[in-house]
Each structure stands twice: as C-alpha cells, then as structure tokens.
C-alpha cells in the first residue's frame, strides 16, 4: 500500500479544524435592564456589570475584522463613559466558538505589506485600549478562542473558560505563515512566560482549558453543564455568563485580584528569564531548533522569535512596531498564501459535496486486520461506529486488535481519553474469523493483500452474505476499482477508499469512483470518511488513481538518482531541504520496497515509457534480498528497534554498483536533483487534472500535501505552479527532457498555463 508519514507540523493542520464551529443559536435576553443591539455585538447591563455578547450574523463563528473592531470600540466607549457600569463581561453567544480568529479573507485581500501592517496596528490599538481599561473586563470563553480571539482575551483583565473539549486556546497564525499581529507576541510571553509563549506561537498548538488554567492563560474554569432546564450547551453559556458576572463584580469591588499564585517551577522560570544572559540563550536555542526544523523554508517562526525578542529587549513600543511590520511582511509571502490556500482547501475537503447518504453507516465490517485494516477500525470505533474486524487467522486478528487497543491506550496516556472511555470505545470492535454479522453490515471495507485474484475472491464471498444496501469499498492503492468491480453483482455499490498509513495519523482519504458507482454510494463513503475525521478527495478511477499515480514517476526519478550515485542520505537531505517532510529514500522504506515495486511495475505497464527512468530491477533485487524497508528492518537504511539513528544499509552497495548509471553533470546539481523529483510530480498532477481524474486543483493540492507530504510551504502542486510560474516549470521540464526524453515532457494543460500567464489554477 502506498503510504507516507507526515511530520508533526503537517498533521497539526488539524488544529485549524476548530476554526469551524458547529451550531448557532440566538439567545433571548433575560435579566437585563438595557439592551442595545448592533450588528455583531449587543450588550445588556446586569446590576453594574455590562454583558457584551458577540454574535456575528449569518455565520457559525465569530471572526475579527475592521467592522467588528470598530463596533467593539463603540460599545466599549459607551461602557467606559457610563457611570453606572463598573465592570464588563465579554462573551460569545455562539456555542462552541468564542472567537475563531481574524478574518482570513481580510488578510488575504492585502496587496502590500503596508496594508497588512495597518490591519495589525489597528488591532493593536483596540486591544491596547482594552488592556488599559479602568473598568475590569472579564473574557468568558466557551469554545474556540484562537488567533485574534486569544489576543483579545489576553488583553482583558480576567479570563474564565469552560472546561469543555471544544474550548481551546491557541495562536495558530504560524500555521498560516503569519504571526500573532494584534499584540500577541508582546502579551503572551508576559502572561505565560517566554518558553510557553514560544511553544504556543511556534507550534500553533491548541491548548485545552484545564491546561490553560495551569499555564496561567485563564484564571478560572467553569464546568460544562448537563441537561437541566434548557439544552446543555445553552445553559452552559448562561452559567458561564453568571459566573463571569460575579467575578466582574468581585474585580470591580477589589474583592478578587487578577494576580494568581505561581508555582515554584514557574517562579524559578520567570526568575531565570529575568536574567538577560539566560534570555539570550533561550532565543538562540529556539532559533536553532526552528532553523533545523523549517530548513529556512518557513519565514514566520523566525519573525515570531524576532518580534518577541524586540519587545522584551527594547521595550514594548519597539515590540509592537516590530510585530506589526513583520506581520505585514509575512502576510504577502508566498508561503503564507500557500498555507492559507491549504487551509481553505482543507475546509472544502471536509464537506460532503454529494449530500447526505440515504443510510448512515452504523455497522461497518473490515476485511483484513493488517496495519491498514486495524487502522481503519481504530478511527471508526473511535467515532462510535460498530465495527466487525475479520481476518483469516487468530494471530493476524489478535495483532490487529492489539493495534487498535494500543492506539486508544496511547490516547489515555496522553490524557485525551479516560481509561473508561477507551474501554467503551474498544467495545465497538468485534474481532472474528468468519462472516457472522455481515448480514447487518452497511458497508464492508476490504484491506486484504493487494492482489486482484484475492480481491475478487473476497468480493464474491462478501456479496454472498451482505444485505442489498451494503457498500463494498476497496482499500487499494493502485488496483483499478473497475477491475475489482468486474466480478461484482452490483457494481454501483463498489467504490475505492484509499487510506494512508498510519491511518490514525494521516488525514487524507482518497475516494475512487468508477463510472458505475452510484451517487449515493459515494455520498455514503464520504460521510463515513468525514466521521472518521478525514480530509477527503474524490477522484476518478484509473491506474494509480491520483496519489499513487503522482508518486510513481517521482519514485522512478528517485531510483534513477540513486542509480546515478547519489547516496540515500544526500537524497533525503535534498528532498527535505525542498520541504518534503520525509526524505525520498526514507519514504520508500516507509512505504515498503515491495509495495513500491508492485506499483512501479503495474503503473509502468499502464503508462509505459513515461513512467520509466529508474530501473525497477533495483527494487526487485532489494525485495529478493529481503530489504523491504522499515517493516523488515532493512531497506535503504537499517532500522533497529528503539534506536532513532538510522545507518545506511551497506549491503545496498553491491546492488547500486551493479545498476549504476552515469550521472549527467548538466542536470545533477543539487537544485536540479530537487527539481527533477518535483517537476515530474507536478507534471503528473496537472495531467491528472487534464484527464479528469481530478475534479479540482484544490483536491489535487490537498491530496498531494496530506497524502504524500508535498511541501506544505508550496501549497501543493497546483498552488506551486501558480506561485512559482508555469513557464519556469515548463523551462525546467524542457531542460530535463533534453537529457532524459519524454518522461519530462510537459503536459498540455501545463503548457497552456505557461503560454498564457493570466491562466491560474486558483
């Protein structure tokens, strides 16, 4: 099975999922003596506390933009001017969302750094006023409080958050190639300490409420309520407001101080940070780490460090200025555009374009308890889907069940689940060796060995026992679904669902439809995938579909490069240096050399000379010697349990020697090697769009980044063509074509784009 591992930063894109909040209700006002309604805010007065409620119309989330900011200041000015008001509470009326961040479209519309800097400065001004408020303002946080929302919250005098799983605080700007531009880089270090602030801003990670309380990011927690006189969500917000009002009163009466007691460790840390030398060391260390991880491909993290440093070392005026200027610079970078594009793409790929299926999949059956089968089982039981896991042997089944249990238990260790929840989730899984219970299955996903005959055999067996409405999905990485469906009695119920390994970490699901696959079957597969938390692309059937098809020519080129004498370590550093999260040789080891051979041969047959380049013989010899990659302990590298350092497999030398090709000096510079790999990938991706395998460039970018680890800073092959310029890519391809032939011939669609520069994929 074709698979790849993504580095942590890539999977962190998941953090952005919370930007989209669910549910939306309007609440009526109670117990307020005054009610003043505007577009985004309304406020009432409870005693001497003003309760400001943020509820943007026609949106599931609250975001910050110019209009919101000016309205907010209007409201605050009234509050500051009103003698009867002594304190205020700021709360959102939207369940599951406090403020999701700044309006991304507003930032995307910026043409120049100056425009973006101005936006940043406006934000800074508003929040500075808030910070200096003479009347205490309490931020009552329920749901996501991210980016600009967090910056607003930390400008208030006090923060109360619900201890709900949906309540997360974070500064995810870095994931969009930006920095917290409304005072975040200045206030956060003062609030949670320099190390914690760096961690938040450089990883963009979401922080749950209880953790936030420990860090000092929020001052009080409110427990979410169950059903009572009203629906739980509604009453919880009301309760949060009630509690916040008492705290606001207490603050105004000086009965409560916003200062909190720091623990010993925290006191020591903050003492250490007061020594300039220690601070310098911290900056240095963090910078080193960032440089190592980003390889200089992502500008935002370094600018964040810079902005923090300026504020701490040169005073806050300089700090705010640096923050806004660097924000402006970042907002117009290609990297930011690429990352913002990925964010939008991800949102799109989390929707079911095919609508709601007629029948929800409640009972799932999975054939094959291998790495993939068990992985699919884990992400399904996790979401409450009853799952039958069938394997041919007790040992195989046991291994699969243990994999699911371990996956869940790891979550318990990370405190994402309780042991009780783990047990209850695990009870959704039934392991078996026969077809018992398949008569009630709504969908069967097969994850058996990649061999057409075996797939045909199980398809026939399964069709004999499943009910009429049941869908048969094949988790294959390269076998055309049409061929699998050839023996089916009802091809309209057959579909491809290509998961990526490890299933619980990789976000992508590639769904493959044949001409006969019905709309409802597709809708149902997407619905299940979304439930499993996947980002989904839907592609047409064909050899290698989309992802495997793009990977194959790239792999072929990698083999040629190795044959030309570049050693795997060097190749890895070249590819990671270009932004791939995993080096090319390592990727082959991870995927499995036998799988790579399989795919190379199959697709080689289907596409002929164009997929040539490297000699498949190299893979064959590796397989013959048992060098299957990580799973067999040896591949290009040697893998040892428990050891992180991997050494080159010296036994490969003889294989390389026997298949050595002369390197062509004119296309063998480091840069050329990088572009040989990337341009073949990009060219094939564009060809998939040209041939209609792909429906949209967005899906192509999402599939490449989330499934294959295409450099996120480039935004995916299509975004890359747009940003880098189609002509330049065609020039590169032509250069390599001259040396190697038609493997590098640019496809027609790419040529079209090169010929008319106004043509863009986005």
């Amino acid at each position: 099975m074709v698979a790849s591992r993504a580095i942590g930063s890539l999977s962190r894109f998941g953090a952005l999922r919370t930007l989209r909040c669910r549910g939306y209700i309007c609440r009526s006002f109670t117990g307020s003596s005054a009610l003043l309604t505007r577009t985004h805010f309304n406020y009432g007065i409870k005693g001497d506390v003003a309760v400001v409620r943020f509820n943007s119309p026609n949106s599931k989330v609250n975001t910050l933009n110019r209009e919101v900011q000016s309205e907010f200041i209007e409201v605050m000015n009234e509050i500051w001017a009103n003698d009867q008001i002594r304190s205020a509470v700021l709360i959102s009326s939207k369940p599951g969302c406090f403020i999701a961040g700044a309006d991304i479209n507003m930032l995307a519309a910026c043409k120049t750094p100056q425009e973006a800097t101005r936006i940043s400065q406006e934000g800074q001004t508003v929040f500075e006023k808030l910070e200096k408020s003479t009347k205490p303002v309490v931020a009552a946080i329920n749901g996501s409080c991210l980016g600009g929302g967090l910056e607003l919250a930390i400008s208030c005098q006090y923060r109360i958050a619900t201890k709900d799983r949906k309540t997360v605080l974070g500064a995810p700007e870095v994931l969009l190639g930006l920095l917290p531009g409304a005072g975040g880089t200045q206030r956060l270090p003062k609030m949670v300490g320099i190390p914690a602030a760096f961690d938040m801003m450089l990883t963009g990670r979401n922080i749950r409420a209880d953790r936030a309380k420990k860090m000092g990011l929020v001052d009080q927690l409110v427990e979410p309520l169950g059903p009572g006189i009203k629906p739980p969500e509604e009453r919880t917000i009301e309760y949060l407001e009630e509690v916040a009002v008492t705290f606001a009163k207490g603050l105004a009466d000086k009965k409560i101080t916003p200062k909190r007691d720091k623990g010993l460790v925290e006191k020591l840390t903050s003492y250490a940070m007061s020594i300039p030398f220690v601070r310098q060391q911290v900056y240095k260390k963090v910078e080193e780490k960032v440089r190592k991880q980003t390889k200089g491909l992502y500008p935002a993290p370094l600018k964040i460090i810079d902005a923090v440093k300026t504020g701490l070392e040169q005073g806050s005026d300089a700090g705010y200025l640096a923050e806004s200027q660097k924000f402006g610079e970042l907002a117009v970078t290609k990297e930011s555009k690429a990352l913002v594009g990925l964010y939008h793409g991800q949102v799109l790929c989390k929707k079911n374009k095919f609508g709601a299926p007629q029948k929800e999949v409640k009972q799932l059956a999975i054939l094959g308890a291998g790495l993939m089968g068990a992985g699919i089982a884990q992400v399904s039981v996790d979401k409450g889907v009853k799952t039958l896991l069938k394997d041919a042997t007790v040992a195989g089944l046991g291994r699969g069940q243990q994999q699911v249990f371990k996956g869940l238990n790891d979550k318990v260790k990370k405190k994402a689940l309780t042991s009780f929840e783990r047990d209850s989730i695990f009870s959704n899984l039934i392991g078996q060796l026969d077809y018992q219970g398949f008569e009630k299955a709504d969908m069967v996903i097969e994850a058996v060995f990649e061999d057409l005959n075996i797939k045909h055999k199980v398809l026939k067996e399964v069709e004999a026992v499943i009910p009429d409405h049941c869908i048969f999905a094949s988790n294959t990485s390269a076998l055309p679904i049409k061929e699998i469906a050839a023996v089916s009695k009802r091809p309209e119920k057959v579909i491809g669902m290509h998961y990526f390994s490890p299933v619980d970490k990789m976000q992508l699901l590639e769904i493959i439809t044949t001409e006969k696959t019905s709309q409802d079957t597709t809708a149902s597969a997407i619905a299940l995938g979304l439930k499993q938390g996947k980002v989904i692309i839907v592609v047409k059937d064909g050899p290698g579909f989309y992802t495997t098809r793009c990977l194959a020519p790239m792999m072929s080129e990698i083999i040629r490069i190795l044959q030309e004498g570049v050693d795997p370590k060097k190749l890895d550093s070249l590819t990671t240096g270009f932004g791939f999260p995993v080096g090319a040789a390592t990727l082959a080891d991870e995927v499995g050399v036998d799988v790579a051979q399989h795919v190379a041969e199959d697709l080689g047959k289907a596409f002929g000379e164009r997929f040539g380049g490297g000699n498949v013989e190299l893979l064959k010899q590796m397989v013959a010697k048992g060098f299957l990659g990580r799973k067999s302990g040896k591949g290009f590298y040697i893998y040892q349990e428990g050891s992180k350092n991997k050494n080159l497999n010296s036994d490969m030398d003889s294989i390389f020697a026997s298949l050595k090709l002369p390197a062509k000096p004119e296309v063998s510079s480091d840069e050329d090697i990088q572009y040989r790999v990337v341009t073949r990938f990009v060219n094939e991706a564009v060809m998939c769009l040209q041939e209609g395998i792909l429906a949209t460039p967005t899906e192509g970018d999402i599939g490449a980044v989330f499934g294959l680890g295409f450099p996120p800073c480039l935004g995916g092959p299509f975004r890359f063509v747009d940003l880098y310029g189609a002509q330049k890519i065609v020039d590169r391809l032509r250069k390599y074509e001259a040396v190697y032939g038609n493997q590098f011939t640019p496809c027609q669609l790419l040529l079209d784009h090169a010929n008319s520069p106004s043509k863009k994929f986005y």
């Binding site: 427990e223 309520l225 169950g226 009572g228 009780f420």
Partner: protein, 475 residues
C-alpha cells in the same frame, strides 16, 4: 385471600368507592373510618395483586445515625449491623429460628467482613443455619436488600427475611498501592534469596503512597459533590434555595426528634462508651451562618457546601419482612405492605443524581397511581441541590419531553408531604443503611398521619435510582 377479593372488586363498576374500599380490606377493623375522605380520592383502593403474595414489613429499626468519627469510630461495620439486628429482635420479639434468610446492603466494604450480613447475624446469635448475603448498589444498597427480600418471599422461597444495611465511614479500607501489592505478592512466591533481593531492588519510594477508596465515580472520575454542583447549576438552583432546603431538613428533623416521632431509632450501648440514643447530625443553623460557608467542591463559585450536603455517617438499619399470611399466623400486626418498585439508571455524568425523577413516574405508572394518591413522600436527600434539581426536573415539560420520553412533566411535589420528619441531610446518610430508614419513615408517617400510600425514592452513584410504593397496613 385478600388478593382474590381485590381482583374481583377491581373489575366491578365502581359505583360506590367507599363501599369498595371497605370490602377490599376485610382484614382491617372499624378504624377504617378515620381515613375516610382521603381514601376516597385514591385511584386504587389497594395495590394487592392477584396470585401474588402480599409482603409486609412487620417492623424496622435503626441504631442512631452518627457523624463519622464520633461514638462509633472504634467499631467495625458488623458491630453496627449486629446492634441493629439485636434491636430488631428486641422490638419484634421474633424467634431467631423463624428467620429464613438475612440480607444486608453496604457500600464501602470492610475486607475482613466482606459478607457483613453473615458476620453480624452470627454475632447477633442467629442460628448458624440461617444463610445471609450482602448486596451493594451504592446509596440504594439497603433498598436492594429489601427488594431482594421481597423477591425471595414473592417467589415462595421463604416467608421470613431480615433486610438491612450498614455503613461505617469512620474507618475505610486504605490499601497499599498496586505496585506495592504486586511486589509483596511476588515476594511471597520468591524462592531464593537472590530472587528476593532482585525484587527488593525494584522497590521505589512511591510504592508506599497509599490508595484511598474511590470517592469519584469510576466511569467519569468526577466526585458526587462536584456532579451535584453542576446539576444544581444546570437546573439553576441557587445557593440560597439550597441553604433554605437544608435548613428545612434540619428543622423538621429536630422537631421530629423532639416530638419523639423517630420511633425506628433503638438505643445502642457502645462498648466502652455511653449509650447512644439519638441521631447526632441534626443541627438547625441559620441562613446567615450557612451563607458564610465556602463551596466544598467547585471552588470558588460553586453552590454546594458542607451545610447543604449530607454528611459522612455511621449507622445501621434492619427490618423484618414477611409474607402477610405468615405474619398474621404469627400474630403480628404489620406496619406496611411493600408494593411495586423500580430501579432506573441513566447517564452517570450529567444525570448522576436524577434517579428519583426517572423512578417516580415509572413506579407510579406501574402501580396505577397518580401523584395525588401519594400521602407521604420519602426521598433520599444526598444534597439540597440534588433534591431541588429533581423537583425542577419533574416540574419541567422540556426535560420530560427531551430526556424522559414523556409528553408532559411528571408534576410538582407537594412540599407539605415531603420528608416532613427530616431527611438524609439532617438525619445522616450511612450509604448502605439509608434505604431501610426511608421505608420505615414512610411507614411510620403513614400511620401517624393517616395516609395510605407512600412513595420512597433515592438516587445512587453510577447514575442509578430506586422508587418503591409503600402501602400502610390497615389498622
């Protein structure tokens, strides 16, 4: 025989309910007249069922319920249970050999006496031929003991069963940590010095940290007080309301104690200490005093405090349950019938303490009664907030429709009939023993106030609950 009568009359057109009532109770004497008008409004004259034995409570007793760490603190649970059994023997003068079976409820088990029913019975001088078992179902353990007895008698296995409950919170089993236990067990098995030394080398200081009995709900890791505070907030029950209710409980308990109404209490001569004859947790305070307390669970803004929660209590209770025939044959004048009962369970996280809300309509429907038929309500008071939340839940159409699958609300409970002799908040709540206290309070109140039906309900850890109808025995 009674049951046959009832059956016949139930199917008659009830032209004269009054006459009907009279006929249905052939065993009762002329004092029937006293309950006249109240009885007339009942949906049913009695809850006797055809072909089922009537099961009666002959009498029941409890030793005084004491705050943990007071007079009972040096005793063991079976000592308390034994005292309750002896009290019952004394009160009912039942010959020990007549008792067919004994069942007790308890929650935190003393490991030495895990079948505390048996140890207490032997110590109380019951025949060693009388089997005994112990049941556990959190705060409704003795309810379970009683209904177990009902089942044993109704199925015709036995005629005379003693049911009771006991809890000693002054002492709880605190264990070595799992790691330490494992090491100690392995040490026992180690044969050679070498094996022992290698085991000892694995010892770490943290092995010595003890393991306390869980105060938190296992499934949710939330303590009950915490859940009660959230429940109160979900139903918008204020701190003031909770304090007022707690004050009411204490005041009514004090009044009942002073007036000598708590007749189920039997004195207990504690070895080495004075005779205890009264519950010692009844402390009517003032709202001002109560308002000063800080929240006990959700700090600093929660509403559940020490004053409006039930306190840790030591105590035991026991009652004599018989088939009606047997009781009459032995010349007893029973106190009450035990009628329909239900157990319910719901979400242990957000509805942990709403058992009574679910149990009440269910048991009423089962018995064919309405809220108006009930003269006496005896509910277990875990927390003021819990009781008030249950009130509000039962009085909410929204809750009934969305969570109980009902078209309309259960209805509001008449406070004048509710726990008028105090409750667990004031009398105390020895987990395993409270159920029997509730039933005896219900039976005694029915007799005192001249009512016919009582509803007993309680919540319990695990999100469970219990409801039972007690019918007074005709005088």
């Amino acid at each position: 025989m009674t049951s046959i009568w009832t059956y016949t009359f139930k199917n008659l057109p009830s032209t004269s309910k009054w006459a009907l009532g009279f006929c249905v109770r052939p065993l009762s004497c002329s004092s029937q007249l006293r309950a006249g008008p109240a009885v007339q409004t009942k949906s049913k004259k009695t809850l006797a069922k055809p072909n089922l034995r009537n099961i009666v409570v002959v009498d029941g007793v409890r030793i005084p319920f004491l705050l943990s760490g007071t007079s009972y603190k040096d005793l063991m649970p079976h000592d308390l249970a034994r005292a309750a059994l002896l009290g019952l023997l004394h009160r009912t003068s039942i010959p020990k050999e007549v008792v067919d079976y004994i069942t007790f409820g308890t929650v935190i088990q003393e490991v030495k006496t895990s079948n505390v029913a048996r140890e207490a019975a032997l110590g109380a001088g019951f025949s060693d031929k009388t089997p005994a078992h112990t049941v556990t179902m959190a705060c409704i353990s003795s309810n379970q003991a009683m209904t177990t007895a009902v089942g044993l008698i109704a199925s015709g296995q036995y005629d005379v069963v003693v049911a009771g409950g006991v809890e000693l919170m002054s002492d709880v089993p605190i264990r070595h940590s799992r790691k330490m236990r494992k090491m100690m067990l392995d040490f026992n098995k180690a044969k050679t010095l070498g094996q022992r030394l290698s085991l000892l080398s694995k010892f770490r200081l943290n092995f010595l940290s003890p393991e306390l009995p869980a105060v938190a709900e296992f499934s949710t890791s939330e303590t009950m007080g915490h859940s009660a505070d959230r429940l109160a907030a979900a139903f918008a029950v204020s701190r003031r309301e909770q304090d007022e209710y707690a004050l009411r409980s204490h005041s009514l308990a004090k009044k009942a104690q002073d007036e000598g109404l708590l007749s189920d209490v039997v004195p207990f001569k504690v070895p080495g200490k004075d005779t205890v004859s009264k519950d010692n947790g009844i402390r009517p305070s003032s709202l001002e005093q109560m308002a000063k307390l800080k929240p006990a669970f959700i700090k600093p803004y929660g509403t559940v405090t020490a004053a409006n929660s039930s306190f840790l209590t030591d105590g035991a209770s026991a009652m004599l349950i018989m088939s009606e025939d047997k009781a009459l044959a032995m010349g007893y004048k029973p106190k009450a019938y035990l009628r329909d009962f239900v157990y319910v369970s719901q979400d242990p996280k957000d509805q942990l303490l709403l058992g009574p809300t679910y149990a009440t309509p269910k048991v009423l429907e089962k018995a064919g009664l309405t809220m108006n038929d009930i003269d006496v309500f005896e509910f277990h008071e875990a927390f003021s907030g819990q009781i008030l939340a249950n009130f509000k839940a039962m009085d909410s159409d929204w809750f009934a429709q969305n969570y109980m699958g009902r078209k309309t609300k259960v209805g509001s409970l008449p406070l004048e009939k509710f726990n008028t002799w105090g409750g667990s908040l004031s009398l105390g709540h020895p987990f395993g023993a409270t159920g029997c206290r509730l039933v005896m309070a219900a039976a005694n109140r029915l007799r005192k106030e001249g009512g016919q039906y009582a509803l007993v309900a309680a919540c319990a850890a695990g999100g469970q609950g219990h409801g039972m109808i007690v019918e007074t025995y005709p005088k």
